[in-house]
């Protein structure tokens, strides 16, 4: 199993969700986060007081999928989240040791 963690632009969330649903991926966890990579944010001015806003609002999407489907999910996700501009975000992939469904203690891929 692989855990796919994607940091994306907030306004791309709906598109990403729809695209994943279309290939049969139902489960995911969404978190509102703030951060930046090479994108350096913007400047705000309040009564002459300047603030550099470098931590921008982003959405973190986390999902765990069978290893065999990881590549397909990554392609779908990055395709849906891409605008081609700086600030589109990143995807990180991790190995997952175990998955357990709390309701009935199913284990492994059948718990996904």
């Amino acid at each position: 199993m692989k855990k796919i963690e994607a940091i994306i632009q907030p306004f791309k969330l709906e598109e990403v969700k729809e695209a994943l649903k279309a290939i049969g991926i139902d489960g995911m966890t969404i978190t509102e986060v703030r951060g930046h990579g090479r994108q350096k944010g913007h400047k705000e001015v309040y009564r002459g007081q300047e603030y550099n806003v470098d931590l921008l609002p982003k959405v973190k999407v986390e999902l765990v999928v069978p290893s065999a489907r990881a590549e397909e999910v990554i392609k779908t996700l990055s395709g849906a989240a891409r605008t081609g501009n700086i600030g589109d975000g990143k995807i990180f992939v991790y190995d997952v040791a175990e998955a357990i469904r709390i309701r009935n203690e199913d284990r492994g891929e059948s718990a996904l």
Partner: protein, 469 residues
């Protein structure tokens, strides 16, 4: 003689809502033209009184609306979200606290006829303040209306200062400070400018006639200069200016500023103390001042290479309103536009350039907007005041007196300057004394943990926003 009488009767009969009542009164009166005229004149007087009283009660309510919710929202939006309730409470509690002080002796100390500098205790506990008008101040409305209208000014003035010590003052100390400040600064200053026999009163026996229609010196210079004293005495907020201290909701500030704009019609046009043509003139000048102030500030931003901002627009409108306040019942519409524009440009410069240069933490710019805008407005009142707008002041020959520089009375600018200097001096001394005492008794500054936690939790045990509940 006959035609003159007919003319008077015709005038009286056309005087609007008094008509029916007047006819009835006239019918009951004994036969005879003089008696009829007397009855008609009494009826017209009563109709005017009803109209004036209606406007003054509405004005009083409008001025209270400037403090809550107007100023509470304006300031509340400008602080960080952990401080919103605490900031709003600082305005709100003054609606309660100052009212009680006013009832006990504040009104008497401000408006009782006493010395040059302070009123006496003739209205202690509001005795002798009832339905009968006080002819010295407002001859057509109940004395009680005048009293409650002036109370609303006494409430907003210390509330303006809260912008300077925002996010770091202990709530109890702030209440003590304000109580002392009212006695040391506000009551004396209001008496000097507006009270009968006050040192600066232009109409009722003052030494130096200072024109202040609605509170440029009494409200804005006293509060603005005291704000600067507080900002310096209290010290900077922890982390200022390096930390992020962005306004947490300019949306709230925007609503608050627009409420201030609307409420200001009660503040300035209400200061005519009747539903008169002078009230209309002050209303127009007020609106024009606000409009030009908003554009002036945004223009200054553009010239400085910044974007024209929402906060800039509303700050400029408030600056324009502040500056037009002393002038509103004395100037024509175009001078009002000029005064507003000047306030937008000058206050921008103070808030954005001068504050950063000197590094004091006047957190919400109470000094930059009210102190500077009030001084500018008071001085320009001396320039643009004209008897063409306000002919209440008579010279020795019984003709309308020349008011400002444009009327040929250049001395008035000097008189205005003296008024500003007295207001500023009194504010500095009074604020320092009030701060010292409050600090010794309760400690004015939050400790660093309380400040870091925020006013809401550390002072009130609540939070402004509980989105998880």
């Amino acid at each position: 003689m006959t035609s003159n009488l007919t003319g008077r009767i015709a005038f009286l009969l056309t005087s609007g809502s008094a008509l029916l009542q007047a006819q009835q009164a006239a019918a009951q009166a004994p036969q005879g033209t003089d008696a009829k005229i007397a009855a008609l004149e009494a009826a017209v007087k009563s109709a005017q009184s009803a109209g004036d009283n209606a406007w003054m009660l509405v004005s009083a309510a409008l001025v209270l609306m400037m403090t809550g919710p107007g100023l509470a929202l304006f300031y509340g939006g400008l602080v960080r979200k952990k401080n919103i309730l605490g900031t709003m409470m600082q305005s709100f509690v003054l609606m309660a606290l100052v009212t009680v002080l006013w009832a006990i002796c504040g009104y008497s100390l401000a408006f009782g006829e006493g010395s040059f500098f302070l009123g006496d205790l003739r209205y202690l506990f509001l005795q002798n303040v009832g339905a009968a008008p006080n002819a010295d101040y407002a001859g057509t409305i109940p004395h009680q209306t005048f009293m409650v209208y002036q109370l609303m000014f006494a409430i907003i003035t210390p509330a303006l200062i809260t912008g300077a010590y925002a996010e770091r003052m202990r709530f109890s100390a702030m209440m003590l400070f304000t109580t002392l400040w009212m006695f040391l600064v506000y009551f004396p200053m209001a008496h000097m400018v507006w009270g009968k026999g006050g040192f600066l009163n232009a109409y009722l026996g003052g030494k130096i006639p200072c024109f202040d229609f609605a509170g440029g010196t009494v409200v804005h210079i006293t509060s603005g200069v005291s704000a600067l004293v507080c900002a310096i005495y209290m010290g900077k907020r922890a982390g200022y200016p390096s930390d992020q201290m962005k306004p947490h909701s300019l949306t709230l500030s925007f609503v608050g500023a627009c409420l201030l704009w609307v409420g200001w019609f009660g503040f300035n046009a209400g200061s005519a103390l009747g539903a008169s043509a002078l009230a209309t003139s002050a209303f127009v000048a007020t609106h024009f001042g606000a409009a030009a102030g908003a554009l002036g500030w945004m223009l200054a931003e553009r010239i400085q290479g910044h974007k024209m901002s929402a906060l800039g627009g509303i700050s400029g409108a408030v600056a324009g309103l502040v500056a037009i306040t002393p002038a509103s019942g004395f100037v024509k519409p175009f001078p009002a536009l000029f005064i507003g524009l000047a306030a937008g440009l000058v206050c921008y410069t103070i808030v954005v350039k001068v504050k950063q240069k000197f590094g004091y933490d006047d957190s919400l710019d109470a000094f930059g907007v009210h102190g500077i805008g009030g001084t500018l407005g008071a001085l320009l009142t001396g320039v643009f005041a004209t008897s063409a707008v306000n002919d209440a002041l008579k010279n020795a020959a019984g003709q309308p007196a020349a008011l400002g520089l444009i009327d040929g009375n250049g001395m008035q600018v000097v008189n205005q300057l003296i008024g500003c200097a007295i207001a500023a001096g009194l504010a500095i001394v009074g604020s320092l004394i009030a701060l010292k005492i409050s600090d010794a008794v309760l400690g004015v500054r939050l400790d660093s943990k309380e400040e870091q936690t925020g006013l809401d939790v550390s002072m009130h045990g609540e939070e402004g926003y509980n989105f998880e509940s």
